[in-house]
């Protein structure tokens, strides 16, 4: 299995389209950062307007931490979209080139093959996230400096620079689980649909649908705890004044369970299907 995974990663990084995708992610990140700057200015003007009547502000709130926070908000739609297209290509490309059958003509079981695809997808996702997180923090602090973070959640919450950094890191880590979920979904969609364009369309629909469903408010506690779109924004809880770690943990565990279930579905379908 280790050899399969190593080989998968070797193939991924030998393809030019992987680097195009990485470049696209960075270009997107740059756009998001620029728009975050302008959004941040507007946010501060609007949300602090009334406080300005009673206070003089000293210190710069439009700093790297606010930029990172605003980037974080945008990440969880734009980046999964690119990621799902790229990751699903790891399998749809092999269907198109018929290398799926070439591999299965070797003494490699279907189960081993498809599991290695899932693991390679997760490793690739972690790699992309790692460089995104690193570059976001570096560039934000480089261009905008450090300072207090202000967020609007249950009112205006201010966090000093160190605490802001810690919360932002935890938020990225928690949010990464959502990215892993989407990566696994894209491989499963590739198993189900096999053809690249159809898979992209369905993946985009899935992402849009999940994002829309996330915004719906349900009265039921169970729906909010177990319905998977409601699990994809647990990172927001990190910015409550008292971080509800238990809630974050519970939601994360359920999301991991969903991820496992979707992977299991993909593995079963792949095993059962003939390679024609």
């Amino acid at each position: 299995m280790r050899n399969l995974i190593r080989t998968e990663l070797f193939k991924i990084f030998k393809q030019r389209k992987t680097f195009y995708a990485i470049a696209a992610v960075f270009v997107l990140e740059a756009f998001i950062m620029v728009s975050a700057y302008f959004q941040g200015r507007e946010f501060l003007d609007v949300f602090l307007e009334n406080l300005r009547e009673s206070f003089e502000f000293q210190g710069n709130l439009l700093n790297g931490n606010l930029i990172i926070y605003l980037v974080l908000n945008s990440f969880w739609f734009h980046i999964p979209l690119i990621l799902m297209i790229v990751v699903s290509g790891f399998l749809t490309g092999e269907y198109k080139d018929r290398t799926v059958e070439a591999v299965l003509l070797q003494p490699v079981s279907k189960q081993q093959y498809i599991i290695s695809k899932y693991i390679a997808a997760l490793v690739f996702t972690a790699f992309i996230l790692g460089i995104l997180i690193l570059s976001t923090f570096l560039l934000s602090y480089l261009f905008f400096g450090k300072g207090d973070l202000v967020v609007f959640l249950e009112g205006l919450s201010f966090y000093n620079s160190t605490e802001a950094f810690n919360r932002l890191m935890i938020a990225f880590l928690v949010g990464s689980l959502t990215m892993f979920f989407y990566a696994v979904v894209s491989i499963t969609l590739a198993v189900l649909f096999q053809e690249a364009t159809v898979t992209w369309i369905v993946a985009a629909l899935f992402l849009i649908g999940t994002t829309l469903l996330l915004r719906l408010e349900f009265d039921s506690k169970w729906v909010n705890s177990l319905f998977f779109p409601k699990l994809t924004d647990s990172w927001q809880y990190v910015f409550f004044s008292e971080i509800p770690f238990r809630t974050i943990l519970n939601k994360s565990l359920v999301l991991i369970a969903y991820t496992g279930l979707i992977a299991w579905i993909g593995i079963r379908v792949f095993q059962k299907r003939d390679i024609t």
């Binding site: 050899n3 399969l4 190593r6 080989t7 070797f10 193939k11 030998k14 393809q15 030019r16 080139d97 018929r98 290398t99 799926v100 059958e101 070439a102 591999v103 299965l104 003509l105 070797q106 003494p107 490699v108 003939d274 390679i275 024609t276």
Partner: protein, 286 residues
Amino acid sequence: MILDARDVCKTYGSLEVLKGVSLSLNRSEICGLIGPNGAGKSTLFRILLGLVSRDSGTLEIHSEASKPLGGIIEKPALYGYLSAFENLRVFSRIQGLELNRADIESQLLQVGLSPLRKDPVRHFSMGMKQRLGLAIALLNEPECVILDEPFSGLDPMGIRTLQDEIRELAKSRGIGILISSHNLVELGDLCDRLYVINQGEIVREGPAREILQQAARSYLLYGTGLESSTTLAKADIEQRTGSIVLHLEEDSIHIIIQRLSAEPGVILTACVPQTNLTALFEKTPE
């Protein structure tokens, strides 16, 4: 016997693709599977190679090797963005073979490919791709290799080269080789045994020469004095430049050859059976 498939059936929806196909292969033997397009050749091969499940029937592979079967289905599937060297390395690694540089280069040389070539295989000719595909099929030393339409897309030189390689594999390495084609010429000289498949059923099987002979309905005769032969004057013939086509319904060519040999003024230099495809693909009576 290295491979034994019995009564294999496969249906896709309402279409019965394979109807109780039985086939076997021995070590060092080259077996051909011939049939028209849509006869079920590729489906049978996919079942033998484990890519497609069979609805019923048995498949036994008598081999202790970690990779009992190797194969190519239709055109070889390669990673077009990798070089030949990298393709071999990828395919060897995924099955746990740790080949060093020298091993891989040796594999490439064995199939007539240069290890110095670094460009991606999407730039290769079909013949080179076939050879690389064969090298990949031979990784891990399978005891049986299944090649589906290996000559398709090759020029005559490429076909001849591949045929020589296949013969060498069977003879020197004792590998049982099963080849499919819809082209008689490619298989005729190469195979020890032949299976003929049509509409999902094996309609004929046996030694290749016999099968082809059985389905021969005309013969190409070369020689001198044939135009004025009295033996041929009574037969159903066609004059061609440099040869005569003799049409015969029954199996009596040996009588014709004897008469021609005895006829003064006639020197028969060659007699090439022309297999009639319709006759070949007809089901033999039980």
